[in-house]
Symmetry: C2
Subunit: 210 residues, 2 copies
Amino acid sequence: MRDGALQVLLWQRAREPFRGAWALPGGVLSPGETLEESIRRHLAAKVDVREVSHLEQLATYGEPTRDPRGWELATAYLGLVQLGLDPDVPADTRWHPVDELPPTAFDHGAIVLAGRKRLRGKLSYSNAGFALAPPTFTLAELREVYVAALGHDVSATNLRRVLERRAVIEPTGERRPSGRAGGRPAEVFRFRDAQLAITDPFAALRPRRR
Amino acid sequence: MRDGALQVLLWQRAREPFRGAWALPGGVLSPGETLEESIRRHLAAKVDVREVSHLEQLATYGEPTRDPRGWELATAYLGLVQLGLDPDVPADTRWHPVDELPPTAFDHGAIVLAGRKRLRGKLSYSNAGFALAPPTFTLAELREVYVAALGHDVSATNLRRVLERRAVIEPTGERRPSGRAGGRPAEVFRFRDAQLAITDPFAALRPRRR
DNA sequence: GCTAGTTTTTGACTATGAGTCGTAAACCCG
DNA sequence: CGGGTTTACGACTCATAGTCAAAAACTAGC
């Protein structure tokens, strides 16, 4: 989350193929390594991995033509960084709004869109917001996160009621004066869990009484 | 769907490692092959692939210890076969209820459970039922499919209203005398789409009016 | 042909979650 | 101390889902 938009960290290729195009961080698997270990290792070269609050496997891409140099498989992961963190990144990397991607290398454009889709789904039926929002936040701030990630307007009233009813967020008891000009100070909230948890949003045909 | 239970096709290993244990159909990727092409090719050795009504990627497993012979990655797919089809299968393969798995080879037990989980989710927020139910069916039949796949009771009244409201199923106009003893003949339904479609079940914070 | 039994369909009712809107509360600033 | 601003809260409405019971439509037996 940067400048009110969902952004993705890409680095610009200096060599062919796709010289000048932007690619996702990643690299080849080392022998004996878990997929997740490998992702974290390659990510560590670009950004402080401790700042990645959530990491989950997205999909494996195996089109024989996806790399012009030859046949290569890639397993993509979705990693999330909380709003407010500003990790140091190397000179050849930049954050790009997911909705305005520059020319991308390989099939990385499609992968980014798949990540956005996954994120949008999870925001609706899980507490995935914890991985995007700062540790504590006001409802107005959380609303901005949801607006940027979901791509449509979100009512703060509704957001509060829904997330509080599902026991996803809770008030900390603190208050924080509103940012710009005056106004009633906002309540400060936090997410209850710092781990992904499905909220079982709708019972979906499950009988209510036993 | 067999005998009122969700079942999975496994074959019994004749050689070490895991001799005698049951494994998912599959095999190694051939050069130049798409992942899905490869899955279909290996599947074709066990079952008529045309009878697989839906196929989707599940996840990639890369634990270095998952195969005692050495380091090997596996990308698992979830494939569904409609109720009523009874494909010929080789002598060393058998259908097993997903809830009572025999000893499994490698991490295939975990993969099967992941597939069941994925299926249960999709049944709730998509028209995935088309891939399990026969082309036309009565509500009582569809209910049995959902009961077996979801693992809990489902009200036929509710199922009809929910799926009709979401425009997932529609009546064909036909009627079919009920199976066993008398009773009012049941209406015959079909799924509207034969392709997976998300039904966007709950608006999830999306404003209603524009 | 009538009646009892079965199965499916239908509608009324209720519960719950979600969206809208207006108003009250709590602050800043001049 | 009043105007402007932001947040919080409550009342209302709407949509979807679950429960229940009664009606409908058939078979089978007498």
